[in-house]
């Protein structure tokens, strides 16, 4: 049965400032949702809060996935539960190769039992390499990526492709893409968009957070939500993106009595 990520009346503040103010949203495995909102509406706060960033304080509300209270969990436990966040600004870890990092991450997320008889609990090297190579080929990522230090000196496009590669390797149940299209030129958006669309299937639920619909040309969402002032104020289908494209956020702001 498909699991559902359910967010109920969520309130998140950053350094005492309330940013998310009573947000409700549900995303099921196999569904694609787009959450659209202007700068400052709370998009990234929601993304980091859902993944458990220590600086993003959850004041009230609940987040349930697979029957588990997500808010009680450390970020790594959320990852093991099947949540994934593709970062807007991935952090560099100098000296750690992408391959070494991914082997540890994949092993951690799948659990020791799944990794066969390896003493250290890691997925066997051969198996891991084969899988990594396959995924890299599938996503059109260059072989040299694996040996490079994680996000260290990566271009904007490389950073996002590395995020998508991690998504592919970690095989989450729900992936949150935090402004994955930001800072990319039109070709890079296409490449990233096509990569993500390859990974979409009945086991993956996706929440695409963006303020600009161009990524959605490649990953067509079934559900579109508008985020304003820390709340989902409108939900609908693809047509909502068309409205936004034509009119911008102002009419919606007006409708809901929200100041810019």
């Amino acid at each position: 049965m498909a699991n559902e990520l359910t967010i109920k009346d969520l309130h998140i503040s950053v350094q005492g400032n309330p940013i998310i103010k009573g947000l409700n949203l549900s995303v099921q495995q196999g569904e694609i949702h787009a959450l659209m909102g202007p700068n400052g509406s709370g998009k990234s706060t929601l993304a980091k809060g859902l993944m458990g960033h220590p600086l993003y304080e959850v004041d009230s509300g609940e987040v349930i996935f697979d029957g588990v209270d997500v808010l009680e969990l450390e970020p790594n436990e959320r990852a093991k539960l099947g949540l994934f966040l593709a970062f807007q600004y991935p952090t560099a870890i100098p000296g750690v190769s992408l391959a070494n990092f991914l082997r540890l991450a994949v092993s951690a997320v799948r659990g020791k039992e799944a990794n066969g008889s390896e003493k250290d609990g890691l997925i066997p090297m051969r198996e891991f390499r084969r899988e990594l190579r396959e995924k890299m080929q599938q996503l059109g990522v260059d072989d040299s990526f694996a040996r490079r230090y994680l996000n260290d000196g990566f271009s904007g496009g490389e950073l996002k492709r590395a995020e998508i590669l991690q998504l592919a390797m970690l095989e989450p149940k729900i992936a949150i893409l935090d402004e994955t299209d930001s800072g990319l030129d039109i070709d890079a958006v296409r490449i990233v968009g096509e990569s993500v669309s390859q990974l979409i299937g009945p086991d993956l639920g996706v929440l695409i957070i963006t303020h600009y619909p161009r990524l959605l040309d490649y990953i067509r969402p079934q559900f579109v939500h508008i985020l304003l002032d820390g709340r989902v104020v409108e939900s609908g289908g693809w047509e909502l993106t068309q409205v936004l494209e034509a009119e911008g956020y102002d009419p919606i702001r007006e409708k809901h009595g929200i100041d810019e």
Partner: protein, 472 residues
């Protein structure tokens, strides 16, 4: 023990009732009494059967040692009691410990480091039979064919007296510093390496293999001579904790890099927490020669170590890469010194330190460019990683430039493990400890990638062990 040997020992007044090691129930070994005077040195020379020149050298060094005031810079040496130390242990008896005597936590550490059984016994100082002894003999045979000498220094004095005498103490004279004087007076063991002109030794020479030959001494003395156009990589130490019942380790390492030669000297040491590790390491690099020190310091109570390169002739190059890991109750005062004595010489110092659980690491560096040494380049990078607010890191760089036409760069950075880095890695399934360990391993990667494979693997595991329990 042979009766005659026993009698000789008794005549020399050497105590035979000292129980070396962890346990009482083991064979007695021979040790000089605690403390140091001329008679102790004379006893040592008698037992070793050393030539007179070495005896005179030791006695002269002893005088210098007595004249030198206590070192007052670097770390805190006030607890170091020279009278409470055994200065000579007859080394062939050193390994008479039983595996059963080795404490469980040490055995566990070996286990965690994945060190093979035979090597564990060596590292714990037990078991005179070690498989790699065979390997060592094979290597020595190979080396013989190409004219390379690789011996412990005591044996080298007997077999190559002229060669040793010519260079011994010329790079680091007894009067250089208090601990060089002490080492010169009481040294035992260490390695002697001579590489003939044009010979390139293809594999690293590892002190590792030479377990029954006094290598892991307290006051070892190493001398490496790389003749013109030769190449050699020497590796000493091991990532496993080195257990010593003695609280002072004071080695001297002298290296001569002749014209066009290339020497790399790699050290990874992890001393027990009671040890003062006070080591003098220096190389002279002549025309177009290249000297590289790769130095990893873990453990000990206090380490003071500043590998140095004197670039004596044009085209010489000195590279020093060091990592220090200071944990609870530890002070790593490490660094590097480079002396540009000739024009067009180049040096690079890369120093990385990690401080955790109240540990303190200091970088102490010296860059010197002599007057007239035109066109020299030196690049110094100091990176410190501080893991918690109880820990400390300092840098004490000195730059002395006697020449305008020179290019010196110094960069220093202090960083903490960033919340964003931790969150990023944890969001991918790593625990906080795994994430911190990964960040630290990444930080020391520039050193680790220079290590021979087996050391690199152990080094990463060791960092993992050091990081265990460091996260709430």
């Amino acid at each position: 023990m042979e009766t005659s040997e026993k009698n000789a020992m008794e005549e020399l007044g050497i105590s035979k009732d000292y129980q070396y090691g962890f346990h009482d129930d083991i064979k007695p070994t021979f040790k000089s009494r605690k403390g140091l005077d001329e008679s102790v040195i004379n006893q040592m020379c008698d037992i070793k059967g050393e030539p007179d020149w070495m005896r005179q050298y030791r006695l002269e060094a002893y005088k210098i040692f007595r004249q030198k005031p206590m070192t007052r810079w670097g770390g805190d040496l006030s607890q170091l009691d020279f009278d409470d130390i055994y200065y000579y242990v007859k080394a062939s008896d050193r390994s008479e410990r039983s595996w059963d005597d080795v404490p469980d936590d040490i055995k566990k550490t070996f286990d965690r480091l994945g060190i093979p059984e035979a090597e564990r016994k060596f590292l714990a100082g037990v078991g005179a039979q070690y498989d790699s002894e065979v390997v060592y003999h094979n290597i020595v045979e190979e080396l013989d064919k190409i004219g390379v000498v690789f011996l412990d220094t005591d044996t080298a004095i007997k077999e190559y007296p002229d060669l040793v005498k010519k260079y011994f103490g010329t790079i680091i004279p007894s009067a250089d510093n208090q601990f060089a004087a002490l080492n010169s007076a009481v040294w035992s063991g260490g390695s002697f390496v001579y590489v003939p002109p044009g010979v390139k030794v293809e594999y690293p020479l590892q002190a590792y293999f030479r377990i029954n030959s006094e290598n892991m001494g307290q006051f070892e003395r190493t001398l490496i001579i790389a003749d013109e156009g030769s190449q050699v990589h020497y590796v000493e130490g091991c990532t496993a904790p080195t257990f010593s019942s003695e609280s002072l380790h004071s080695a001297v390492v002298e290296i001569v890099c002749m014209k066009g030669s290339r020497v790399r000297y790699t050290t990874i040491q992890n001393w027990a927490n009671n040890v003062y590790n006070l080591v003098t390491k220096r190389a002279f690099a002549y025309e177009d020669a290249q000297m590289e020190w790769v130095d990893g310091n873990l453990g000990s109570k206090l380490t003071m170590k500043y590998p140095s390169v004197y670039m004596m002739e044009p085209g010489a190059r000195g590279d020093i890469l060091s990592i220090a890991f200071a944990s609870k109750g530890q002070h790593q005062d490490a660094g590097a010194k480079v002396y540009h004595c000739a024009p067009h010489t180049t040096s690079q110092i890369t120093s990385k330190s990690i401080s955790k659980d109240g540990g303190r690491s200091s970088y102490r560096g010296w860059v010197d460019v002599a007057k007239g040494a035109k066109g020299c380049k030196s690049h110094v990078v100091c990176d410190a990683l501080i893991l918690d607010k109880h820990s400390r890191s300092d840098t004490y760089p000195v730059i002395e430039i006697g020449e305008n036409d020179t290019n010196i760069e110094h960069e220093a950075r202090v960083s903490k493990i960033g919340e964003e880095q931790l969150f990023y890695l944890m969001s991918r399934g790593l625990s906080e400890e795994e994430a911190s360990t990964m960040i630290v391993n990444g930080f020391i990667e520039p050193l680790v990638k220079e290590l021979p494979m087996e050391y690199a693997v152990e080094m990463n595991r060791l960092i993992q062990l050091q990081m265990e329990g460091s996260v709430g």
